[in-house]
C-alpha cells in the first residue's frame, strides 16, 4: 500500500503544488512594547520572529526536511489509524537576533540571542 502512494508521487505533486494553505513561513511583526519588554529592550523596537503555518502535505517532499519518522507517521495516519495525527508544520531553521537591553542594575548590555527568528519550516 505504501508503495502505491510512492508511485503516485509525481502526479500528486503536480496536482497539489499550488495549495495556498500548505505549510509555509509567514511574516509577523511585533513590537517589544506589545510583548511588554520595552522597559528591558532598547533596540530594536520591532521584531519579526516569523511563524510556520499550514497543512503538511499527504506525501512529504524533500523540501520540507522532514525526518523519516514524520514520513512513517504520515503513512500510519493514511493507512493504519487516523487518530495518529499527521506531522505538524513547525520551524526548521532559525537565525539570531541582536538586542540592546537594560539590566536591573542599570548596565547596558548588547547581546545576540540564538534561535529567535524562524527561517524555514518543516513537517515533523
Amino acid at each position: 500500500q505504501a508503495g502505491n502512494i510512492v508511485l503516485d508521487l509525481p502526479s500528486y505533486l503536480q496536482k497539489n503544488s499550488n495549495e495556498k494553505d500548505e505549510c509555509s513561513l509567514h511574516s509577523f511583526r511585533v513590537s517589544f512594547a506589545q510583548l511588554g519588554w520595552d522597559h528591558w529592550i532598547i533596540a530594536p523596537h520591532r521584531y519579526n520572529p516569523k511563524y510556520c503555518k499550514g497543512n503538511c502535505p499527504r506525501i512529504l517532499r524533500y523540501g520540507y526536511n522532514s525526518p523519516n519518522h514524520a514520513i512513517v507517521q504520515n503513512f500510519i495516519n493514511e493507512l493504519v489509524d487516523q487518530s495518529v495525527p499527521r506531522p505538524s508544520c513547525v520551524p526548521y531553521k532559525y537565525s539570531p537576533i541582536s538586542v540592546l537591553m537594560i539590566e536591573q542594575n542599570g548596565s547596558i548590555l548588547y547581546k545576540e540571542y540564538e534561535d529567535m527568528i524562524a527561517e524555514s519550516c518543516t513537517c515533523r
Binding site: H39, W40, S98, L109
Partner: protein, 247 residues
C-alpha cells in the same frame, strides 16, 4: 512573581527552564525605569552602546554578517563608586570603582576595555583626561597609554568624533582570572583631568565624562546547560550517568 512561579514549576517537574525565560527572571527590570535609572540610561554611555548596536546589527536586529563580534555579548559597566582626591586646580583626580559582575558559569570574559573621553569641550573650557589602573589587580609593567583618537581602532572599537571618546583594551593589564572571585571583581581606575581655558569651577564637568568599562563576553547556552545538567545529575539517586556503547 510569574517568574518565581515558573522557576518553582520547573524545579518541580525537574525540567531545566528555557534560557530566555531564565534571563527574564533574573535580569529584566521588573518595572519601567523611573528616576535614577532613567538618568543612568542617558548620556554618552547609551549613545556609545547604540552606535555599537548599529555597527553590529541592522534595524531589524539581525547581526551583520560582514561585521561580526568575536563575542556574543558586550556589557557596559558604569562606576559604582567615586573617590575624589584633593588637588589644586586645574588638575582633578578621582578614583572610580567598577563592579565587574561576571558569572563565570555562564559567561566567559574575553576582553575588558575602558572607554573615556580624552578631550571634552564645554562652553568655558576644554578638558583633557587620562585613565590608569589603580589597585592590586593592575600590572605595573603595563602602564595604560591612550591610543590616538581615530574613527576605528581594530575591529571592535568605535569612537565618537565630537569629544574623542576612545576605547582602550586593558585585558592584558589585568592579572589572568582576576575576576574569578567575588572580591576581585572590583576594578579601580584613576581618572585624571586638567582644564584649559577660561576660569571656572569643575562642577558637573568631570561627571559628564566618567569613563565606563566594556566587558566582552561569550555568553553560552552550553554553560547554562552544563550548570543545569550538573544540578539535575546531582538529583539522580544513583549518581551514575547512562551511556550507550558504540558498536
Amino acid at each position: 512573581e510569574e517568574g518565581k512561579e515558573l522557576a518553582a514549576l520547573s524545579a518541580l517537574v525537574g525540567a531545566p527552564p528555557m534560557p530566555l525565560i531564565q534571563e527574564l527572571m533574573e535580569q529584566a527590570p521588573t518595572a519601567r525605569p523611573q528616576g535614577h535609572l532613567k538618568k543612568m540610561m542617558g548620556g554618552q554611555p547609551l549613545r556609545y552602546m547604540l552606535n555599537l548596536y548599529r555597527s553590529f546589527a541592522d534595524h531589524n536586529g539581525r547581526p551583520r554578517q560582514d561585521y561580526r563580534l568575536d563575542t556574543n555579548a558586550v556589557r557596559l559597566v558604569r562606576p559604582s563608586g567615586k573617590r575624589r582626591q584633593s588637588g589644586a586646580s586645574p588638575w582633578r583626580t578621582q578614583t572610580l570603582d567598577y563592579y565587574l559582575k561576571v558569572h563565570p558559569e555562564v559567561e566567559h570574559l574575553v576582553k575588558v576595555a575602558v572607554v573615556y573621553s580624552q578631550t571634552l569641550s564645554t562652553a568655558h573650557a576644554q578638558v583633557l583626561c587620562t585613565v590608569e589602573l589603580s589597585g592590586e589587580d593592575s600590572d605595573p609593567k603595563l602602564p595604560l597609554k591612550p591610543v590616538l583618537p581615530q574613527r576605528r581602532v581594530r575591529n571592535n572599537t568605535i569612537l565618537s568624533r565630537k569629544n574623542s571618546w576612545v576605547e582602550m583594551d586593558i585585558t592584558s593589564s589585568l592579572q589572568p582570572g582576576a575576576w574569578d572571585t567575588k572580591k576581585s571583581q572590583l576594578l579601580s581606575l584613576s581618572h585624571t583631568c586638567t582644564r584649559l581655558g577660561l576660569e571656572g569651577g569643575w562642577d558637573g564637568t568631570v561627571s559628564l565624562n566618567d569613563p565606563f568599562l566594556l566587558l566582552y563576553l561569550n555568553n553560552t547556552r552550553k554553560g547554562l546547560q552544563s550548570k543545569l545538567g550538573k544540578a539535575l545529575s546531582e538529583e539522580t539517586p544513583s549518581g551514575t550517568v547512562r551511556t550507550r556503547k558504540v558498536r
